[in-house]
Every structure is written in C-alpha cells, then in structure tokens.
C-alpha cells in the first residue's frame, strides 16, 4: 500500500494528467459531476456524482459510423475515436461494480468493440466511502463501500490518501507515481473501513435484502398484482434509467444531415412507450409492463443470465431523482412482502 499527503494531491493529478486524460468528480452548480482535470480543478467531496460513471464507457450518444451521400453515391466514413487512454479518479464502490455489470453485457459475444476499446484504454481509481447517504443500499448487493474494486483503490483520511493497486494496469500507474508516494501499512485504512462499516449497518436501508430475488424467479413475480399499484404513478419518463449506472439499453438511430447520414446510438429507456417498438407494434404496450420490465431485469432476468449477480448496485440515484419517488427499493419491499 502506498500513501501520500493530501497536500500532494495536485502534484499526483498533474503527474497522471501529464500522460493521459484524467477525469474526477468536481462540484458544480448542480452537484458533483466528472470533469477533465486541469490545474486548479478541485476534487469534489460529495458522496457521489449526479450522473453515473457509465458515461465513460457507454456515453449517452455515440456516433458509430457515417455515410456521405453525393447524389446517388454513398461513401462510408469510419468515425471511431475511442482509442485514447484515460484515467477516472474517485469512482465509488457502487459505480465500480456497475462496470462489471456492463462488461457482462457488452463484452460477451458479440463483443461491443466501442465499449471494449474504452474499457481497455481506461484505468479506474476508486475511492472508498466514509459518509454514505440515507439512500445508499450497496450492501444489499454485497458491495463493500469501504473496500471498492477498480484498478486502484483509494482511501482518503484527514491528511492522507492511501492507494492500493488491484490490477496490472493499476500497478503500472502506481509505479509511475513511485517518487511521489511512500510505502505504508494498512492500519489507517482498516480503521477507516471499520468506522464506515459500522455506519453502513445503521443506514435506513441496511436491512433491505435481495434474497427473494434472483435467477429463476420469473414466474414468482411476473404476474404479481403489485405491479399495477407500484406503477400507477409512474410518468414513463427516463430519469431513473438515465441516472442509473447499470442501465445499458440503447437505440441505434440514423440522423439525416442533408449531406449524408450519421448512425449513432443513444441511451434508451424501457420506460418509454416506443422502446423495442417493432413492426407489429410494441411488445409492452402499457406502463405497467414497461415498469415491470425495468425491475424484473435488474432483479431477476439479469441475475438469471449472469451467475446471480444483480443488475442494481444500490447507488441510490434513482431514489433521489425520480419525480414521483417510485424506486427499486419500494418495488423490492412490496414484492418481498408476498
């Protein structure tokens, strides 16, 4: 384990940013969000970013290919640009887990090369939590907020930052910082972890359990009458989806520029009425069904296909942002009653 003084933070950032783009949470008018680090940019102390970290690998919109049309001739233009190395600093445990969840989708055959390239060119530096919020429930999905994964894990104390490399990529980056950090033991980190874990136990959602859910539970929940009640206030907006770190659905659309076509993909939401609309119409044509889809996917379908791993990381963003305060916690509790 390496450590460095908190005063040296800017030096460390400068060192990393010298070779690669470095992104980190920065406070803005509307909470914290990932920004490119430049000298003078301050890291946020907020618990988490408003938008999740999935944007780095799975941006909201991404141009896939372009077609240039001249008269009746069509030229295909490759516009790919996802081969740049970058470092993301300060990712919380929940968001780090979300990358695993996305990987299982995008990196399984057929591999999504756009996503894969971005993943390959990134180094994730996570940051352990110390002050979780009332909306946090990562524990429900066996995520340890005090010991996040990532290529490198960081712990921030009053005066120092501790770093531990978890992967080769992490080792390599840490090695680069050798001159600026010093070797240390993990006692300070352990102390902080204990403290954090004690707080986690006191969280309002600490006892929320996902036990009842998981692969093979489709029949148990699919026809539950609870869906109707749960979904009746749902507006069908995409807020939950768009703040969610694990929602991975997208649409591919062609944009006619007048001189050609830009084929791009953009996030889609299963809450939308035209989601998966096909020639015959829509397979889920009421909001109850669309609402059910989102939660069944997170709690049943995803674990069924991915060795029991849930499609939710308990980050709590949807709890904070849903316009009508309906969310996965309420769904789990209601369905869990039965």
């Amino acid at each position: 384990m390496r450590k460095f003084s908190i005063q040296a933070l800017d030096t460390i950032f400068a060192k990393i940013a010298a070779d690669e783009k470095l992104y980190l949470p920065v406070d803005g008018e509307n909470g914290s969000n990932y920004k490119l680090w430049e000298p003078g940019v301050q890291m946020s102390d907020a618990l988490n970013t408003v938008r999740s970290a999935k944007d780095f690998f799975f941006p909201q919109t991404e141009n896939l290919i372009e077609f240039k049309v001249t008269g009746k001739q069509i030229d295909i233009i490759d516009v790919r640009n996802e081969n740049e190395d970058f470092v993301v600093f300060g990712v919380r445990a929940c968001d780090v887990r979300s990358f695993d969840i996305l990987d299982r989708v995008f990196l399984s055959e057929p591999i999504d090369s756009y996503y894969a390239n971005r993943r390959a060119h990134s180094v994730i530096i996570s940051m352990a939590c110390t002050r979780p919020a009332e909306t946090c429930f990562c524990g429900t999905f066996d995520i340890d907020a005090a010991n996040p994964a990532g290529d490198i894990t960081c712990w921030k104390t009053q005066d120092s930052i501790y770093m531990r490399a978890n992967t080769d990529k992490g080792e390599k980056l840490l090695a680069k910082l050798d001159g600026l950090t010093e070797e240390c033991d993990d006692s300070a980190v352990s102390a902080q972890q204990d403290k954090t874990r004690r707080i986690m136990e006191r969280l309002p959602l600490a006892n929320l359990s996902a036990e009842k859910f998981g692969g093979g539970k489709t029949n148990e929940f699919f026809n539950s009458p609870a869906w109707k009640e749960l979904s009746q206030a749902c507006l069908g907006c995409g807020t939950c989806t768009f703040v969610c770190p694990t929602c991975q659905c997208y649409d591919i659309k062609d944009y006619d520029t007048g001189n050609g076509v830009i084929r791009f993909r953009c996030w889609d939401s299963c809450m939308y009425s035209d989601f998966t609309k096909m020639a015959h119409g829509n397979s889920r044509n009421s909001q109850v069904e669309r609402f059910r889809q989102r939660f069944m996917h997170k709690l049943v379908y995803y674990p069924e296909n991915n060795e029991g791993i849930f499609g939710c990381v308990g980050c709590g963003r949807c709890l904070a942002k849903c316009p009508i305060s309906m969310n996965i916690v309420k769904v789990m509790k209601k369905l869990g009653e039965e």
């Binding site: 008269g71 009746k72 006619d256 007048g258 044509n285 069904e289």
Partner: protein, 664 residues
Amino acid sequence: MQRIGVFVCWCGSNIAGTVDVKAVAEALRSEPGVVFSTDYQYMCSQAGQEIIKEAIKEHKLTGVVVCSCSPRMHEATFRKTAQAAGLNPYMVEIANIREQCSWIHKDMETGTQKAIILGRAAVAKVNLNAPLIPGQTPVTKRALVIGGGIAGIQTALDIAEAGFPVDIVEKKPTIGGKMAQIDKTFPTLDCAACILTPKMVDVAQNENIRIFSYSEVQEVKGFVGNFNVKIKKKARFVKEDVCTGCGICTEKCPQKKVPNEFNLGMDNRRAVYIPFAQAVPKVATIDADYCTMLKTGKCGLCAKVCTAGAIDYTQKDEIIEEQYGAIVAATGFNPISLDKFDEYAYNQSKDVITSLEFERLTNAAGPTAGKLLRPSDGKHPHTIVFVQCVGSRCAACADKGKEYCSKICCMYTAKHAMLTRDKYPDTDVYVFYIDVRTPGKNFDEFYRRAVEEYGVHYIKGMVGKVSPQGDKLMVQASDLLANKQLHIEADLVVLAAAIEPDKSARSIATMLTASMDTNDFFTEAHPKLRPVESPTAGVFLSGTCQGPKDIPETVSQASAAAAKVIGLLAKDKLTSNPCVAHADELMCNGCSSCANVCPYGAISYIDKEFRMPNRTTAIRRVASVNPAVCQGCGACTVACPSGAMDLNGFESAQIIAEVDAICR
C-alpha cells in the same frame, strides 16, 4: 421510393437565358428518387406536355417535378397533363425557376445554381407526396348578387336568363345604383335612364330574380356551391307587397326637410320617400332618422293617407337565411370626399361641385329640372371650369386622394363640357387636364369633337387654387404649354373627383374571405386570365368593385361574371380541393385548439372508441375535419401541439424536406 421525372423548361429564353437548363436537368438526375430528367423549350406547350406524358408512361413515373414558371401560372396545366397520363395530379410539383430565378438573376452561374436548389427542394417534396383524391360536394343552384347597380342588374339578368334563380341584395331602397343618377352616357349621349330603367323593369319582372332592396348581407358561411348567407332586410316601415307606389304618402308627409341623397343633397325630400320615379321596387320607404311618428310617436299622417294600408310603423329588421351556390360582388363605387381639398374651395362655395352633382344639375329629374343653374343663386353660369384628376393619380396624399387613375373622368368631363356648350353656347368652358386619356371605341373622336366642334377650351395644366370672391370663383391655374399662369373668373367649378370602392365592400370582402388590394378594390384571381373571379372559389366580381370602369366595361364584366356563375351552377357536383387538413386520430387528444383557430368551422369532435392495451377499449374525444368546408390554410396544424393535425399537399414532413433541401 418514388420514381420521379424532372422536366426543365427553357421558357424560350426567359429561363434558358440565365439558367443552364441542361445543367439543371443533369444535376437533378442524381437526386434521390429521380429516374428521368430532361429539358424542353416550352414545357407548357402541347409538345412539352406530350414529353411529360410519354415519360410518365415509359419510365413508370410516380412523381413529376416541372422546373418552370410560377406554379400560380401553370401548376394546374401540368397537373392535368399528369392526370391525362394516368398519374395522380397531386404528384406534380413545380420549381419556380422563372419568377424566382431566371428573371431576377443576371448571371448564368448564379441562376443555374439557384435553379438546381429550387429543383432539389421540389424533388424532396415530391418524394413525400401522396396521391390525393378530390372530394365532391353538391351545388346549390341559386346565385346571390350583392349590389343592384348596373353591374348587379346585368349579372342577375344574365344568370336568370340561363334559368337559375338569383337574388339581388341592394342596401338602398331601389336598385339602379350610380347609373340611375347619371344624365347622359358617353360617347353616344344616350339618356342613361332610358337605357337603364327598362333593365330595372326586366329585373323586377323576371321570375328567377328576387330583389332584396334596403337589405344588407350580414353573414356568409360555407364555401363554393354551398354558401349559407344571412341577409338583413332593414325595416322600411312599409309593407313591400302591399304598397302600390302611388306616392301619396311622399306628398303628404309633413317632414319636408330631409336632404335628398339621390340628388346628392342639393334638394330635399320627405321622411317617407321613393328615391325616384322609376325606382324598382317602386315602394315607399320611411326614413327612421327623420320620421316624426317613429321618433316621437306623434303624426301617423302617411298611414292615414295610404289607401292600400301599407304603412307599418312596427316593422322590424328581418333576417333571411338562404343557400347559394355562387356569390357575385357588385358593390360599386362612390366619388371620394373632397373635404380635404381646401385649394378647390369645395367646402367654401356651393358653386364648386363634383361631376356627379353636375349630372344631377343637368338632369331633367334633378333639383333644377334640367336647367344648368348655379346652386348658390340659381343663376345661369357663363364661365365654367372643369378640373380633372381631383384626387386621382395622387401619390403624395394618401389621406386625401388615390394613387390610381379613376379612368372615367376624362370622358365624362368631355361629355359635360360638350353638353354645356351644346345647350348653352354662350358659356365659356375650360377643362384643365394633366393628360386626356381616351382609349375606347369612339372615345377619342368624342373628345376631339368637344374641342373641335364645341369649342371647349382644353388647357394642359392644373388648377392651383380656387378662391371665392363675391359671387365669382377666382381660378388660378397654369397653362403649361403657354407657360402662363391663368386667372379665370368662373361662375361654376366642376371637380372630377376620384372614385373609390363603396365603403361596405371591405366588410363584405371579409365575410366572403375574398381578398382586396390596398385601395379596397376586390382582387381578381388573375389580373389577365381570371379577371372576373375572386381568388375565393365561388365568389365573382362584377363592375367597379374590382377597379374603375365605365358603363360598357362594367356591363361586359357583369356578363362575364354571370357566365362564370352559370358555368358553376350548371354543374351538379363540385370537386373540392383535396389539399385539406386531416387529423391523426391516434395522436389527437381532443384539446380543441384546432377548432378554435379554424376560420371555417370545419373541425368538429367525435367520441371515438380506441383499442387500448390488453384488449381494453377507451373512448376519446378526437378532431374530425370536414374536407368540403376546410379551405386548407393550415392554422390548425400549428395550433395542434401533438402534430396530429396535418395538411394534405403541405404536410409538415414535406415542408421540412424542402427546408432541408434548400439549406443543404
């Protein structure tokens, strides 16, 4: 995907002079959807149309773009061409590369580039065109003529002669209009009454004609073939069907001090009156503004003397509702007010009069029984000055006069001058003119006779000032040819006042949704090719409401309008413009925004049952457009937030495609 043919017209050198038509045809060939492209000298010619027809067949075209003159010119032509070749006529679009391109640009490169872009926009639109089928509506076989002057009379007679019922609405108590006030007509000098009144009698006696005199059009709804009109028959306090027109009441009425409008206020009539002896209908009318009985409840003399018992003081305005297939506007003209022309002292001296007043002064039925006497002192005038173009051709004084030429003044002034000299050879007659305009059969000969045979002094120049001095009028004028300033001591000055459309025309145009020009003359559908039709279908124009005209012209236009009306009424069904709005019921949320902005009341709402998820149904209120009533303005399409409302032929997607093509 459409199979579009592009046809680029040279229009002789009109287009080909500044647009490389071959290059345009070549460039458009590579546009999406285009499978054929060619050019030709005159696409609108028989041979040009044949090219289009053959190409439609040979290349199995589904859409046609003609790059030519304005669609206002030949869109209909090319649509018919396409139809003749079996293509839906609404699959044709015009790129206006003449008016909008070749005629305004001088440079070949510029013109060609712009023509290509305009063509491209038309191609983009046609790509989204869909065949449209016109609807059919029945025709009410009855016509309405608004205005009972010579124009309205002639139109009504011609329509009635063809066997169709006609109603004339005249706001005055009698038909006859301005012509009834005129003494003689140029250039033949017939007595106006002698030729007009027989026609008025014909109208009265024609079984197919109804006259609503002392009536006004109050509301017009509907559309070509199916107008629904409300006519207000103003209370005249005399039962029209009972009154015999004997005139006893008009002699006995004690209220004698009512200015007689028929004689332009130069003498008085009674409160109950018949405008003139040959009035049609010959029925008395009580003027509510002056009648003592109606104002105070005391008098009742006319009722006492009326042997027929026709007087009815309790009569109320009556609203008559009637259906018409066609409407003819024949609202006529008035001389403008000369109140603002201080320099001519019209308001200061009774002896400065307008030409129409002069007509009454020389008319046997006028205030002076046909003797030309000065209004001020009843003396015979020895020196008369006529001034032409008073308020006409007046560009600098929009508040006073009119920019246009009133057309008839030159001729009637010559007539007045000639008649004066004929009857009173001892009179000196001067006519001040800017130009003497006499295009018309026997017109110039007439004018020359006034000068050569009757010794009228025609002086090129204008009167600058008229100042009353004692019982004389000092006229200060210029004689431009002699480069002199003249000072004439005149006894009578006659001003040829400009004419303007009747004030009621504006509100009638609004009711008819017929357009007007800035001078309030009705606009014709085409100034040359459709001069008697309004752009609004089913509305026709007769007489001076369309522009200044003399009597022969008015009558010919009146007959022309009648011919158009007859043509319309002869049809049993009308095909309606299919470019109308339509609502997508699945998207409509029934909010009523569209119905609120529809000027025709074409949108109504129905409760419709829709299939909802999971085999349920729901009843929703949705808009429904009556395609026969909709005129296709598109106001609803923008009022509709959901985009459920769209307009055939001008669909949002089509307009957006044009925008895209232009901005590309």
